[in-house]
Point group: D2
Chain length 306, copies 4
């Protein structure tokens, strides 16, 4: 079921919430179909975009079960199990495996910063206990730790570690990881920031975990396909569209949470799901919402909600 390496566009799905401990079930179902309708190559639950660290375990387990049931094998489902509590990562992975997910994804534990040897131990221990194959997840802005390219190479020798998602935005880091693993054709290396999807695929990268694909899944799939086909002109044109979206929707408001709030607010305006956010964030208030609304309209997006 899971291609090796996994290639393409794997959206990190937003988690639609009614409140702190309740899924927006209808919104969730609409969102899943909306994303799959864009012909994506997989679905990534419970990443940073999914607000995973802020969600209760009960809700995380429920989400995994519901989405896997709904997806029903149409695409591989990846489940984020990043956690500071080791046994909770395992329990979530067990639920993922039972529900039919294809792999799990884990960033380093994010309270205590670890050294590289500790990371090697941690990931090898984790992989040895997991019922599903593991993607590493480099997210230094949130975890305070960069998974060194040589650490990635070391860990890639573990047969249960099958890929790496890099959200550092550091292109030297990304290209170094790709270079060090250039002979490992079965190991997937995926770019986090959607603003660089086109170019890394043109250069031979495997694909991207694009947050904006919650909103516009087909756009990112089109970029991926154009890049695989080496159609530079189309990649440029579509990637420019991504930059326009990014500039319009992800930078409203003062905080680093602007991206998440902008995506959730847009989804709400598009009629897909609730924009409730788990603590410590809260949804955009009317002032920011009206900015997002007018920008969506300017982008040609149909706004169906107030």
């Amino acid at each position: 079921m899971l291609p090796k390496p996994l290639r393409g566009v794997v959206p990190p799905m937003v988690t639609p919430l009614v409140d702190n401990e309740t899924l927006d079930v209808e919104g969730l179902e609409r969102l899943v179909e909306h994303i799959l309708g864009g012909h994506v190559h997989g679905l990534f639950l419970l990443g940073t975009t999914g607000e995973a660290p802020d969600l209760s375990y009960a809700l995380r387990h429920e989400l995994v079960k519901r989405v896997c049931r709904q997806v029903n094998g149409r695409v591989p489902v990846l489940v984020g199990v990043t956690d500071t509590v080791f046994p909770e990562s395992l329990r979530l992975a067990q639920t993922a495996e039972k529900a039919g997910a294809s792999a799990v994804v884990a960033a380093p534990p994010y309270y205590f910063a670890t050294g590289q040897p500790e990371l090697v131990e941690y990931y090898n221990h984790l992989a040895s206990r997991l019922p599903l194959p593991l993607f590493l997840y480099n997210m230094p802005s949130h975890t305070k730790v960069m998974i060194d390219p040589y650490t990635v190479r070391t860990l890639s020798e573990n047969p249960n570690i099958i890929g790496h998602k890099d959200s550092s935005a550091n292109i030297v880091y990304f290209n170094t990881v790709r270079h060090l693993l250039r002979e490992r054709e079965d190991f997937s290396i995926l770019m986090g920031p959607e603003e660089a999807l086109g170019e890394v695929v043109l250069m031979g990268g495997d694909g991207g975990i694009c947050g904006g694909a919650n909103l516009f899944p087909q756009l990112f799939v089109d970029i991926y396909n154009a890049a695989v086909a080496r159609d530079v002109e189309t990649v440029r044109t579509l990637q420019e569209r991504v930059m326009t979206i990014s500039g319009a929707l992800y930078g409203v408001g003062r905080h680093v949470s602007s991206f998440l709030k902008g995506v959730k607010c847009s989804l709400s305006l598009m009629g897909l799901c609730s924009d409730f956010m788990a603590e410590p964030f809260s949804r955009f208030r009317e002032e920011e919402r009206s900015i997002i609304r007018s920008r969506l309209v300017a982008l040609g997006v149909k706004v169906v909600k107030e």
Copy 2:
């Protein structure tokens, strides 16, 4: 039961573990008595030194119940409820309240970095839902966020927020918070790093959350008492002892986890409790353990375990 402000030495207790999900119950009981035997002014469970973010909730709840029962009102118990999952903080606080704890302590959520306005919202929301009064906890090295002194002042106006623990080690920050709250005699401001306990109490600070008080509780209490009595000579002499301990036991090994590993290893050698550590850390191996052993001996500490 809880003095306002809380003053004195409130050790951040280590969590004795048999394995990932099991308390070292006997070690825990010995450790609690060892610490209380030092005439400390309170006990802080589930802080950074307690490895709280790495422990399963079941274990955290069990720890709170066991220790509160054992302490049985001899000193106020503070319970760390720092978490990325808001409802889990609440649930732990409810257990703490039922078990007889006096207050809870919360650092900012530590996956997503928040701005100061978001922190104000977060803490006010949290305090409004808690069954116990709240101490703020500034720990920027782990949470990536400094709780600005003006944010502390704003939050201090919430009647359910009664104190602040600062582990930044930034003395300008600490003194600025104290200055901004100089008229709030009921608000407790406690220093994290034990290396500065004596001087901040001499200057009028309320006390400290000293990790080394797991090992040598009376030493820190003696420093506190000498500082309250303005006995500068004794403060200097005893604080020098703290620096010697810090240099001997907290810097073995390569990683930032050296402090935690050194304290747990020392407790094990002193026969108090297990040195098992939760992921992502692991206890010192024999090489480092033998260094700690000889340093304890040099400090005049009775080593009773291999």
Copy 3:
């Protein structure tokens, strides 16, 4: 003489030194010819790779005069005037203008960190006093300050500011700057890290300031030309060569200075110029030098010096 925008490969030239205050004149002459022999599109003196902040002003002025005389209009010369002392930046720019250089380049002053409004004031003031057009230079790892993309756009409205060099390695930043200035076809946006040259030119970027072009100028020119021609296959193949060079030569030794030391050591072994380095660095000792030597041989490079 200076195309607008400047496009292509503009190597940041190493500064060959005999000692702290003396140029290796013969080495310098050889190095200039070696680089120009690679058909580069310009030459950048006194950047980070040129160790500019560590060189005395007398030496910087002499270098500019010598190299401009030698280049004699064959390519545009850009001169780094980054400095914490404003009048010294101006004096160096005056020398550059008299010597026939085409433009100057300035990173933010690097002792005091500045806010974005201060950066706007600083750059506008600087540009108003300069006798040559100015390139901005984003180098946050060394200056502690990111020139915000919106700051770049604001500054681009100054007619004397004609381009931007970004050495942040942050691909989202780079693409955002390009997007914000997409209508400014006369404004040059150049990538610092050579590990990303090919892809950014494929995507429409103007070129790169590639440190490795001191060693292998033609390689980077070939990548640039292939990318302009949208020959994805060649770009990939040659860029892989760059990664191999980067892995072999830039990471020997423990310090962040490994890149600079590796390039100077390689140049020395290739018989081009001295490897003396200004304080606070020192050249590789024999141990590291022998590693570089064998790696150059493995890369097929002719080593002519011991």
Copy 4:
């Protein structure tokens, strides 16, 4: 002339400027007498507060000569020679020695970040070439490098390195350095931030480099003397006054430069010297100036200028 160790209050003098390359000579003379009138124990020229890295060398040399002549042995003069250009540090030290200064002070070179072994080499090389004894200067917020406590201890073995100024504000760092050098009674360890002067002297530290002593030199000398006399009550009272000043004058405006701008603006309003600032900063405009004015009045300071 220079006591070993140097103890007491050594104000880091502001550099009064008419413009970018011209000293405010009359203001300078008034400021020197104002500071010496406070019975300080030394005078530190060309530190961070002195905007040294932004001043041309001609101006730095002139300042050293003028001030040394004026001070004429009344107190030891320390001269900052921090620079990215090694020979310029030496030249400035030679001028300092000829002018009669007692010592020089050097932070790590601040463009390229160095590792600890490189710092040891750099400082030993520098000390071996200097005509005056050297104080180390830890200023990680500006230099990006922490001089490790063990590096300080290693360097303290160089007979020409006689002290350490720490501006990190990290109290654990400061106390660790003091502890490691506790047997070196001839080695001076001075605290940068004035907000912690009293307590570190109470604990046995040697004194402070207090920026606010440009404004209120006697206040800091009184704190120092009270702390030496172990008069805890007076130390607390006066240190509270420092916090009030700090809160009133150092935090106006948005930028990290608020401290420098506030001090210079206050000096101008007090009729002592010009508030011109070298690039990249500029003096407070009327809006901020009027805030400073009213706060000075509230502090009971005589404002003599508009």
